[in-house]
């Protein structure tokens, strides 16, 4: 009989991931079913156009009023609803007065979660020429000027900024790139508080130019520790309280480290490089914990860690979205998405189980929610009949979801959301 070996992929826990690709399309992949759900693409938003290639994306996936910001190659930043894909606001002509030159792509984008208020959000963007800008944007549907207060500064004088990350506490941000050493900036005062120093020349006196391709903070508590990956396949751990040179630095395979993601425990990181190797490394010791084997043949452009489930998603140039189990490093599923993928984010407020919640509770929830635009109800059709009676289905879903999410966590108390 034909000699084929097919490894059955175990399914994933229920989750929802949004992937962004080189043609500007946003695809939503959901996996339903508590054990063994196979992820499927449920929605596809956007028009395919290579000038709209997505360069960076950020999601604020709170229970009510989540927003998604997407930075495209033609200079526009779109703020939309991650549940329906409707664009709230689209900012173009991004730049400080003198317009937006052709080669000044956006390198990093971040939505501030802590200081969100109804109807507006603040974004940090950074372009490759080093123009970083902190601006608040109104997302109310009514006519209003797009740019609220904006504060911009130049991150680097020369070189190209390739990676930008904001710390969990949202007070600090780090930037690094080609010819740009990793810098740590204080966002409230817009000052650079720390810059890295390149490691000493090696024994052969060979000087490798600085070229950071990815960076991330290690934990949400301590802004002083972060990890950066370089073009010469080195992963460097920095501690600003200790020294300016990297504390630990180790080599990983032979191609540039294209993406780094941190785990919740504060010391494990996941690195993905240009030839599709994904591995988890312990930063305390510098030891490689293990590689994620799953026939990934293209460069890994982005890794995302799910906030609740022990799942990471990786996407890249081989057009597959792969979901991995963190502990066993097993491939949970691989979904083919047809284009070169550039970013992936998780929408953590997702549950596909229907809650048998009493109606009285829902009635209380409705007045407290934010008024939203009409949302697509197509994806809801999978949900069973008890939802049919409600008009404002989406809000109920989200309130139920947040409640359900509490109940799903085994050891946590289910507080009032």
């Amino acid at each position: 009989m034909p000699r084929t070996t097919t490894v059955e992929c175990p399914g994933c826990p229920p989750l929802r991931a949004l992937t962004f690709d080189a043609l500007g399309l946003i695809k939503v992949t959901e996996s339903r079913g508590n054990s063994g759900g196979i992820p499927q693409v449920v929605e596809r938003w956007g028009d395919a156009d290579s000038s709209k290639c997505v360069l960076a994306a950020s999601i604020d996936d709170r229970a009510n009023d989540p927003i998604l910001a997407v930075a495209r190659k033609n200079g526009t930043i779109e703020i939309s609803n991650p549940l329906s894909g409707d664009i709230f606001v689209s900012i173009s002509d991004f730049g400080d007065g003198d317009g937006h030159p052709e080669d000044d792509d956006i390198a990093g984008l971040h939505i501030f979660k802590k200081s969100r208020s109804v109807g507006s959000c603040s974004l940090l963007t950074c372009t490759t020429k080093g123009n970083a800008s902190l601006r608040s944007v109104d997302i109310a549907p009514t006519e209003s000027t797009n740019n609220g207060a904006s504060n911009s500064w130049k991150v680097c004088a020369a070189g190209k900024v390739l990676c930008a990350k904001v710390h969990g506490s949202e007070k600090h941000a780090l930037f690094g790139g080609k010819g740009v050493e990793v810098n740590l900036w204080d966002l409230e005062s817009s000052t650079k508080i720390w810059a890295a120093k390149p490691p000493p020349k090696n024994s052969l006196d060979i000087f490798t130019p600085t070229w950071f391709t990815s960076a991330t903070f290690l934990t949400g508590n301590d802004h002083r520790k972060f990890v950066a990956g370089t073009n010469s396949h080195q992963v460097r751990v920095y501690d600003t309280s200790a020294q300016r040179r990297p504390v630990i630095s180790f080599d990983f395979r032979e191609t540039p480290i294209k993406s780094v993601a941190e785990d919740h425990d504060g010391y494990t990181i996941y690195v993905g490089n240009g030839s599709g190797d994904l591995a988890s490394i312990d930063t305390r010791t510098g030891k490689l914990l293990g590689c994620f084997l799953g026939k990934c043949s293209g460069s890994i452009r982005s890794i995302a860690r799910h906030p609740d489930h022990p799942v990471i998603a990786s996407c890249g140039l081989d057009s597959y979205l792969r979901l991995w189990d963190v502990k066993t490093r097993e491939l949970l599923s691989a979904t083919f998405l047809k284009q070169h993928l550039t970013c992936v984010v998780f929408d953590s407020n997702f549950s596909d189980k229907e809650v048998v919640a009493p109606d009285a509770q829902n009635a209380d929830e409705i007045p407290g929610e934010v008024e939203q635009e009409a949302l697509k109800l197509v994806k809801r059709k999978k949900f069973p009949e008890e939802m049919k009676g409600k008009k404002k289905k989406s809000k109920d879903d989200r309130s139920k979801k947040s409640k359900k999410k509490c109940c799903q966590m085994e050891s946590k108390e289910c507080d009032d959301s």
């Binding site: 084929t4 080189a22 240009g274 043949s297 140039l317």
Partner: protein, 360 residues
């Protein structure tokens, strides 16, 4: 014989022992069926007995095959005599037939594919906005057959130019070529004095494909070879089905001008089979010849007469030019960069888990 019997008994005894409660009949029957299917000559430990059993099995299979063939031929002949259709032949199982279902195969109605094609690096050449201009060079080492191969490549690919490598860095070469409006750079890499690999880079920023080159046969080594003319050849690209294959196919297509000269009767074929791309270069000619029909009885009357004196048009091929086989090793996203390279597809040994899985 004794050995065979022991083997047959042993699994049965083991399975009997495993049954705790008096097994149901189904289980017994199933075991018996399983037992029959399980037996293979490779289970016999004694080499002489095993080889005897294997030879016997092969002989039996050969006899069966001969029998079925004879029966089939007899049935065919009978059917023809009776004037009926010969019975249908069953389709043999091949590796291409049993290829694993691949989700990356391009579907004909995929709008995203068309948009991706319009947006990719080769579209400007394929839409005839730019004319292909190829720069061929070698690696730094000399080779015995390299220059002959390159001179043949220069005749196959129109508008190709050869420059000596010297000691230039590939990145510098890419810059220079972009400045001079070349569309593709081909580097013939040599190993052990034989051309070994082909690096095809689309300029200015295009993907780089690294192919392994093997089974190179030069023109002078082909018997009765033909000499190619200067007409623009027709291109035949076979079996590039998956997305990756489609991309590689478009890359190869962008090497040749998009206006083939049919009067030149020259065809270049890249045939992909099981991830190996076979390159052939032929000149063809259409000829009519008298056909000799042997079964006029099937259709009596005018038709039969026409057939018996009818003309059939056939195409004859004369091979010219080199013959070689390529295998894609990696596809890099930008121009060739060993250190900073980002790969769209790289072959990894862990991907070869199945003999029925191909990537192109």
């Amino acid at each position: 014989m004794g050995a065979k019997r022991k083997k047959e008994d042993a699994p049965e005894m083991a399975e009997d022992a495993d049954i705790d409660d008096g097994g149901c009949r189904d289980r017994r029957n199933r075991q018996k069926v399983e037992k029959k299917e399980e037996f293979r000559p490779s289970m016999i430990k004694n080499k002489e007995k095993r080889s005897a059993a294997h030879a016997k099995l092969k002989h039996q299979k050969k006899l069966e095959k001969r029998k079925t063939k004879k029966a089939r031929e007899a049935a065919d002949k009978q059917a023809l005599e009776l004037g009926e259709e010969p019975p249908q032949r069953s389709v043999p199982r091949t590796i291409e037939n049993t290829r694993e279902a691949d989700e990356t195969v391009c579907k004909p109605d995929d709008a995203e594919l068309f948009v991706a094609n319009d947006a990719d690096e080769f579209s400007s050449i394929l839409r005839r906005e730019r004319a292909p201009k190829i720069l061929i060079t070698t690696c730094r080492f000399h080779s015995t057959r390299g220059p002959a191969f390159i001179s043949e490549l220069l005749t196959v690919i129109p508008n190709a130019h050869y420059y000596k490598r010297g000691t230039y860095d590939l990145k510098k070469i890419v810059e220079y070529a972009t400045k001079e409006d070349f569309t593709t750079l081909i580097v013939v890499h040599t190993s052990r004095r034989e051309p070994d690999a082909l690096l095809v880079t689309s300029l200015p920023s295009g993907p780089t494909a690294h192919f392994k080159l093997s089974k190179l046969v030069l023109r002078k080594e082909i018997k009765n070879h033909g000499n190619p003319t200067g007409h623009v050849p027709e291109l035949v690209l076979n079996n590039f089905t998956t997305r990756l294959g489609h991309r590689v196919g478009r890359m190869i297509q962008s090497l040749f001008p998009q206006n083939p000269d049919f009067r030149g009767r020259r065809v270049v074929t890249f045939h992909n089979q099981r991830d190996y791309i076979f390159f052939r270069h032929h000149r063809y000619i259409f000829e009519t010849k008298e056909s000799k029909q042997q079964d006029p009885k099937s259709k009596k009357g005018k038709d039969a007469e026409d057939k018996s004196t009818g003309q059939q048009v056939i195409a004859r091929l004369q091979e010219c030019g080199p013959r070689f086989v390529l295998k894609l090793k990696s596809l890099q996203h930008g121009t060739f960069d060993t250190r900073g390279g980002e790969y769209e597809w790289v072959h990894k040994p862990e991907m070869d888990t199945s003999r029925r899985r191909f990537f192109l």
